[in-house]
């Protein structure tokens, strides 16, 4: 697009062509609005990294029926594993299902490669009529009498005017901060993910992970693999590659003076992981920040003429059980788009009008999910859950399954003994049970 376009006026300007931005651009373009979707990468997805599992396939199915038939997807996830690791041992919850909601359309979730998936998704918005402007950085918004009236791009004559700006510019959202919707984020609220895509033959992946056809597995790990750093690891199966990585709380990396990519090597060398990656070839190394603190880091979501969605709005749910972001990005982008449509119909772009965005986030369970699990992120990143309990589970299981002629202890004395061995204190454990309950049970 040349400068001639930039003198045009748009109904909606979406900044960032990730899942939130493309969802917002798609719904607004379908409503017949004049929509501009701005992406700073060479193409949509070029700057984007996540695990990646797209959970909530049904959500995208509402926007694009049978989307998986045309989109570049890797495997539909029918199996999930949550593992606690000690240096020698892995104790895990292994869930696998051939229930219809997992193996039949619209499926539960798919592994995806973001540069491919995001590119496809943005192309759907484009096909619906949105203008996609690649290779363009947005440095600021345009303001007039307290109203956001467009964006300032880093181009010749780069001011572009629009009635509604939807900021989907990612975890490090300059726009949300510049407008004062988001405060400066703290290092304990952010996690650094480092990731590798490792190529492996499709047949090897199927055999190694006991997978049929295009079914896939998503594993997440917590414990010794990140040493004393607070964080976890993941391993997902793609069609002919694995996506795996380590996620470390930023503040904790600094405190422990640990390099994330060294933790990644330690993860690959762990006895429960090494056999899974053996013989693979590194295809790409990448890194990205994750907004991990959940509810407490969600900014003000809208102001006069502007809304914030996706990672820019902190909408990544990281609870240990769930590590989800793409679904909430799509949901929030769509909700912001719907709110923009309503505002354009009324030709009224005040904060009051755009508050419909929040109503929609509530109605579509985004706000509720984050509120319900508001205590979970801090619990997951707590000292004892990170270091003590994985060790407790590992040692306890080692003792439980060991048969050596000594007397078999029942579970309570065995647990008690193991807890004392690893240095756990009864009053702390009781406290943590309460915290776990508050985080997950009620």
């Amino acid at each position: 697009m040349t400068t001639s376009k930039t003198s045009e006026h748009f109904d909606v300007i979406v900044v960032g062509a990730g899942p939130a931005g493309s969802a917002a651009a798609l719904v607004t373009a379908r409503a017949g609005l004049k929509v501009l979707l701005i992406e700073r990468g060479e193409y949509p997805g070029a700057k984007n990294v996540s695990g990646a599992v797209l959970y909530g396939s049904a959500i995208l199915h509402q926007l694009i029926p049978n989307w998986w038939e045309q989109a570049p997807v890797e495997r539909h996830v029918t199996r999930r594993e949550l593992a606690l690791l000690s240096p020698t041992t892995s104790v895990s919850l292994d869930f696998q299902s051939v229930a219809p909601s997992y193996v039949d359309p619209p499926f539960n979730g798919f592994t995806v490669l973001r540069p491919k998936f995001d590119r496809w998704f943005a192309a759907q918005a484009e096909a619906a009529g949105a203008f996609v402007l690649n290779a363009t950085v947005v440095d600021d918004v345009l303001r007039e009498k307290g109203q956001i009236v467009g964006v300032r791009t880093r181009r010749e004559a780069g001011d572009i005017r629009g009635d509604v700006v939807i900021a989907c510019d990612g975890v490090n959202s300059w726009l949300a901060r510049k407008v004062g919707l988001q405060r400066q984020l703290r290092t304990h609220e952010l996690a650094l993910g480092v990731k590798e895509v490792i190529g492996l033959d499709e047949s090897v992946i199927r055999e190694r992970f006991h997978l049929d056809g295009s079914a896939g597995v998503a594993r997440e790990y917590i414990g010794a693999v990140t040493g004393s750093v607070h964080g976890g690891a993941f391993l997902y199966t793609n069609r002919n590659s694995l996506s795996l990585g380590v996620i470390s709380q930023l503040s904790s990396l600094v405190e422990q003076k640990q390099r994330a990519y060294e933790l990644l090597e330690a993860f690959k060398a762990h006895p429960s992981v090494a056999p899974l990656v053996r013989g693979g070839t590194l295809r790409e190394y990448s890194a990205h920040l994750i907004p991990e603190a959940g509810y407490s880091m969600i900014p003000k979501l809208f102001t006069h003429g502007m809304m914030v969605a996706g990672d820019a709005a902190g909408l990544c749910l990281s609870t240990g059980i769930y590590i989800e972001g793409i679904n909430y990005a799509i949901q929030s982008g769509r909700a912001a788009g719907d709110a923009a449509i309503a505002a354009c119909e009324r030709r009224e772009f005040s904060r009051d009008t755009l508050s419909k965005y929040l109503d929609l986030l509530r109605k579509r369970h985004v706000a509720g999910d984050f509120h319900a699990y508001r205590h979970a992120p801090a619990f997951v990143n707590s000292e004892r859950l990170q270091n003590l309990y994985p060790e407790l589970a590992a040692r306890g299981s080692e003792a439980l399954f060991r048969v050596d002629g000594n007397r078999k202890r029942k579970l309570l004395p065995l647990g008690w003994r193991t807890m004392r061995e690893v240095g756990g204190r009864p009053h702390q454990v009781l406290k943590d049970i309460y915290h776990a309950g508050r985080a997950y049970l009620w």
């Binding site: 950085v137 650094l192 590798e196 895509v197 930023l250 790409e284 990448s286 890194a287």
Partner: protein
């Protein structure tokens, strides 16, 4: 190879390098800094401590993740920005 050195990792990522850096460090400020968290957290290992006590930043292979920006404790030591549109890292698989 599955186990890889950091150099081998970095060779797999693609960068379109601009003429001017998008992140600029102030060597004076960095000399006063005792934390130097940027050196630890940078996943591309681009912050290099120099003999004179300052820190050098090699912008060419930056993932633009923002880690250095968030951990920096010296006011004004780091001028952080995204690269010009179309420049910087381009992921193909991640």
């Amino acid at each position: 190879m599955v186990m890889t050195t950091h150099e081998e990792k970095m060779r797999t990522a693609y960068f379109r390098v601009d003429d001017t850096p998008h992140i600029v460090v102030d060597p004076e400020k960095c000399r006063e800094c005792s934390v130097r968290a940027c050196i630890t957290v940078c996943p591309a290992d681009l912050f290099v401590p120099l003999d004179d006590g300052s820190v050098l930043f090699n912008y060419e292979q930056c993932f633009e993740c923002g880690s250095c920006y968030f951990v920096c404790t010296e006011e004004g030591a780091l001028q952080w920005n995204y690269p010009r549109g179309g420049y910087g890292v381009t992921f193909r698989e991640s």
